[in-house]
């Protein structure tokens, strides 16, 4: 059943014209005081696809994400979002274009309620972010919409709780709800299933599949079963460079990739 869903998703994404990629990196590089964490990376993410970025620890995946989302200044190369050069843009402005990232560890606003966490996003769209003279109740008109996003991830029942009180899996779900409230076209998810128990992994995977409808997802993922289930394309990185790219089946049969993973025994391929 899962396999059939995957193929239908794949068909939908590739059928809708695999034209210009929504996100493209050209010869992207980043040096940290001489050490090249990312070097000469070419990457194209097709619109509507779920694209995985894999590789052993320290391969440069998170650095890549930081470069693409402009949290780090690249030392070399260019980044294009819908063929627009965003290499020199500020991170907040990249987010406003519709490319929203998550973080390797869960990123919520811990001392704010779940409702407030989502509402923070809606405030910007509603133009209710700089009014220092308005009372708190001016925000209640965004509550309904915020609840709707919480409902999508099954958290509307806990809307009034502080985010810090949630178990880890729910924090990741809250993060997704917050990201969705941005109505992004492209989601960059850094290890969304990391640190989750078996059941939570399934749920978050299912959630990603659902939110990917009509959107593009680029995700760093270690869990190969997650990748095989939902990803259309996989890029393998090693020591800051792209080692291979293709479908999951192609990549997992690539001898170079197998060697790379064998070399990093703890990591392994969790199939």
């Amino acid at each position: 059943m899962i396999a059939s869903q995957k193929s239908s998703h794949t068909k939908a994404s590739h059928g809708s014209g695999a034209g210009a990629p929504i996100l493209r990196a050209h010869k992207l590089g980043k040096k940290f005081s001489g050490f090249a964490a990312v070097e000469g990376v070419d990457l194209g993410v097709a619109e509507g696809s779920i694209h995985a970025l894999v590789g052993p620890n320290g391969a440069g995946k998170t650095t890549c994400f930081n470069l693409l989302s402009k949290f780090l200044e690249p030392s070399a190369g260019d980044i294009f979002f819908r063929e627009r050069n965003i290499t020199r843009m500020r991170p907040a402005d990249v987010a406003r274009l519709g490319m929203v990232r998550s973080f390797q560890i869960s990123a919520t606003f811990p001392q704010m309620t779940l409702l407030e966490n989502v509402r923070v996003v809606l405030q910007r769209a509603a133009g209710l972010a700089h009014q220092f003279w308005m009372p708190a109740r001016a925000l209640t008109r965004l509550d309904q919409e915020a609840l709707r996003f919480l409902d999508m991830v099954g958290l509307s029942g806990q809307a009034g709780q502080l985010a810090s009180s949630l178990p880890y899996g729910h924090k990741r779900a809250l993060e997704l709800a917050t990201t969705l409230a941005m109505d992004p076209q492209l989601l960059l998810l850094d290890e969304p299933t990391q640190g989750l128990g078996h059941e939570d992994v399934e749920q978050v995977t299912e959630l990603i599949r659902r939110v990917a409808q009509g959107r593009t997802v680029l995700m760093v993922e270690h869990n190969m079963s997650v990748i095989s289930k939902i990803c259309d394309r996989v890029t393998v990185m090693q020591r800051g460079q792209v080692l291979a790219e293709g479908s999951y089946d192609e990549v997992s049969r690539n001898p170079e990739v197998i060697t790379a993973y064998m070399g990093d025994a703890e990591e392994g391929i969790h199939a």
């Binding site: 989302s69 949290f71 500020r90 991170p91 907040a92 402005d93 987010a95 406003r96 929203v100 990232r101 998550s102 973080f103 990123a107 919520t108 606003f109 811990p110 001392q111 704010m112 407030e116 509402r119 923070v120 996003v121 405030q123 910007r124 209710l128 972010a129 700089h130 009014q131 220092f132 003279w133 308005m134 009372p135 708190a136 001016a138 925000l139 502080l162 917050t178 941005m182």
Partner: protein
């Protein structure tokens, strides 16, 4: 309404009632006004420090700078009192803009250092400039009138200051809870996440710095009008240190903490002589009589005691212990 907000509301009304009645209960109005100007200054400082986590070490430049220019406008230019005060606030905003633009992109100790460095420039300017009177200070600032009401009497001035203080405090409290305040809370709790949600966080921090500067300027301008003079002490870095101390003792990021801090420190400074004599009298230790000369040492001791006993300041600790989940905000 929860038990907590009820308790908080009653505390506020009680404080207000006490403040209204104080001059009739034998409190020296000038002391009350000094407390209120320092409390307002601390509330302004707290707006930045408590809600962005950035500790300014240069707020004296805003407080004292506004005091000087208000004094200048009232003495040399003969401006009406409200105009002079507004001019003080305006100049504090200008200094705040210069400081904020350079400082808000830094974090932690670097933020503090940039604000301190800029405040030192203001200090040395005030030391050199003619209008400030250098070491002698700017003397003889007239209180003037407010809407035809003479401010000469200490009691009248006291109630004017009380109105200014309560209105400012109410507005500051509202800022913290406003839509803008929500964004700042988000930035404080997880700045990278706020950026990834499309917020240009430095603009929000700068906005908060300006609001803080404006209220610090208002406090300084009011103090100059109340006391009738302005001296280098108010632009000195030790005043920046004092406002940090007041706020931390009372409780950083709380509504009432800065007020409590200002009351404790100001009253102690004022009454140290009497307290010293009292302690000498009951213990027979002569050293206590010299307490008055060691005010900064006593302040230091209070600070150490507070850090050890009340890590979040007095109000912050009280809220954390008895306040329920959202302790930090009360």
């Amino acid at each position: 309404m929860s038990w907590r907000s009820k308790a908080q509301l009653s505390t506020m009304w009680l404080i207000l009632l006490l403040a209204v009645a104080a001059p009739w209960l034998g409190m020296y109005p000038v002391l009350g006004m000094r407390i209120m100007s320092f409390a307002l200054f601390a509330c302004a400082f707290n707006l930045m420090a408590g809600y962005t986590g950035l500790i300014s070490f240069g707020h004296a430049a805003l407080f004292g700078g506004a005091g000087y220019v208000t004094g200048l406008a009232l003495t040399s230019w003969g401006w009406p009192t409200p105009a002079g005060i507004m001019f003080g606030v305006f100049v504090a905003l200008v200094i705040g803009l210069a400081m904020g633009v350079l400082a808000v992109r830094r974090y932690g100790i670097y933020f503090s250092m940039v604000t301190l460095a800029l405040a030192q420039i203001v200090y040395f300017y005030c030391l050199q400039a003619d209008f400030t009177g250098g070491e002698d200070g700017l003397q003889g600032i007239p209180r003037g009138t407010l809407f035809g009401l003479s401010l000469q009497s200490d009691r009248v001035m006291y109630y004017v200051m009380l109105v200014v203080f309560v209105a400012s405090w109410w507005f500051i409290r509202r800022i913290v809870r406003s839509p803008f305040g929500q964004i700042l809370q988000a930035v404080r709790e997880n700045e990278p996440r706020a950026i990834s949600l499309g917020y240009r966080v430095n603009r929000y921090k700068l906005g908060m710095f300006l609001l803080s500067a404006g209220f610090a300027g208002l406090a300084g301008a009011m103090k100059a009008v109340i006391m009738g003079f302005e001296t280098l002490t108010d632009v000195h870095w030790s005043t920046s240190g004092m406002v940090i101390l007041l706020t931390l003792v009372g409780g950083l990021g709380t509504d009432l903490g800065p007020i409590l801090g200002a009351v404790i420190i100001t009253v102690l400074e004022e009454k140290m002589g009497a307290i010293g004599h009292f302690l000498e009298h009951i213990t027979g230790v002569h050293w206590f009589a010299s307490l008055n000369d060691n005010v900064s040492m006593i302040n230091g001791a209070i600070f150490v005691l507070c850090v050890l006993l009340f890590r979040r300041g007095i109000v912050g600790t009280f809220n954390a212990r008895w306040g329920g989940a959202r302790a930090a905000s009360g």
